[in-house]
Amino acid sequence: MNISPTKLLLGLSLVLCSVYVSAFDLGFGGGDEPADGSSIFDIGDIISGVKDISRTVTGIDEEDEIEIGRDAASVLLGASKPVNDPELQRYVNRIGRWVVNQTDRSHLPWRFAVLNSTAVNAFATPGGNIFITDGLLRLLNNEAELAAVLAHEVAHVVQKHHINAMSSINTSGFSGLVKLASMTREGRSNKMASQMVGEVKDMYLRGLDKDDEFEADSMGTIIASRAGYDPFALMAVLQTLDSVDPDNSELDLLYKTHPPMSDRLDKLEPVLDQFEEPVSESPVLENRFNRYVRKRS
């Protein structure tokens, strides 16, 4: 991709405008306004919008975001390959697509994959590549829990958490990252490419800011519940993970890159208080999940 300075400038200013607008749209992803219209000017949303503008004001072209995300995804796929089970992969993509349709970034080229790793983890890269390890998938009990894990990762993409984190790794910030991304693609200079790979690895070894993780838990819960799933599924997953011996090596990277499970559970509690009983009717779709996931055991 060639980017002339003029085009870049134009792109950046367009992005700044659209970020401003979409930040205020956050509460109503997918245009599904509350039926009573009561929360159109919710003060919480406006505060969240302002916070969002300040965080993304150094903006990045969506095309670049997608390209950087592809670079990051290819590095993760260098460490672990997709499970060779087209039916399963297709199933996970159908769930993932249904989930992202509840956000205001459903237009991204979303890709979901189960990776053949015994580690317990899930990953997102900018632009919409979402990975869940086989190790984590096998700990889940139903489709609602799978959707909740995917929704947590989707929230990272919606909020551009990784782009923010990577720009703090690059000494020149956003502009350095964008420049690196475009030069890597144009020139394919080995030096630039390996710098990009290095920054990607740093990012995923270091993990995101813990507030980004709390935000993804909260937003992920809400996105999954918008999709019609049991709102308590993500908390159930965190409780399951909390019950695993933390010394288990399969969880090393997860714990190194995420806040303690007990903190995440505490932060999620007030989010769930809004869900009035009875929510037991919310489907968890255990049978459908088992048909695709358990058949392999």
Binding site: L26, D32, E33, P34, D42, D45, A73, S74, V75, G78, A79, K81, R90, N93, R94, R97, W98, N101, S106, R111, L115, N116, S117, T118, A119, T133, R138, N141, V197, K201, S218, A227, P231, F232, A236, Q239, D242, S243, V244, D245, D252, L253, S262, L265, V271, L272, Q274, F275, E276, E277, V279, S280, E281, S282, P283, E286, N287, R294, R296, S297
Partner: protein, 188 residues
């Protein structure tokens, strides 16, 4: 004991319902034990922090539990599940260690799908693997064949809800009257 643990692993490997069997946990913060899974149902008991409980099942935001010889419902958010190593009671309870056992089963040999798994190493996407990873663009491109675009996603059988990202106290959300698609008969 050892035999029971192994049989637990085997059961977990072939049956998802085993993992949902009785689990042990603890009350994480003072909580009411309710008669039914509703906040306006009768409070049977007040359970102080650290009360040991046995979890019978989950229903939405509630666990049905047994504690101090009583049975009832507590909010999901007031419960922590026990860890395999540090909260193990003297009695040999094989289901309590279900998750740990499942993981052990995974690491020590996952059967036919991974002949190359060694005893304790994390396979794929551990810290070491990530450090040594070479970008794999072919694997990346292979993901395209499974991708689903928005026009293909209408068959989830689920009904969407309106929920804002930042909840306020006054917003309550009730469950949708969602029905699983066609032959998907769910037990809950």
């Amino acid at each position: 004991m050892k035999l029971r643990l192994y049989s637990a692993i085997i059961i977990l490997a072939i049956s998802s319902s085993a993992i949902a069997a009785d689990k042990l946990g603890v009350i994480s913060r003072d909580a009411n034990l309710y008669d039914k899974p509703f906040r306006d149902s009768t409070v049977i008991a007040e359970l102080p922090t650290a009360t040991a409980i046995t979890i019978l099942k989950r229903q939405g935001g509630w666990y049905q539990i047994k504690a101090t010889e009583k049975q009832g419902w507590v909010r999901l958010t007031r419960v922590r599940l026990n860890r395999k190593n540090n909260n193990q009671p003297e009695s040999d309870n094989e289901t309590e260690s279900g998750v740990g056992a499942l993981l052990t089963g995974l690491t020590t040999g996952r059967g036919k799908s991974s002949q190359d798994t060694t005893a304790t190493a994390v396979k794929g996407l551990g810290e070491e693997e990530l450090r040594n990873a070479e970008p794999d663009e072919d694997a990346l491109n292979s993901l395209d064949s499974f991708a689903v675009d928005s026009s293909e996603s209408g068959d989830s059988g689920l009904q969407t809800r309106s929920v804002d990202y930042l909840p306020t106290e006054n917003k309550k959300v009730t469950a949708p009257s969602a029905k699983p698609i066609n032959e998907e008969e769910e037990e809950e």
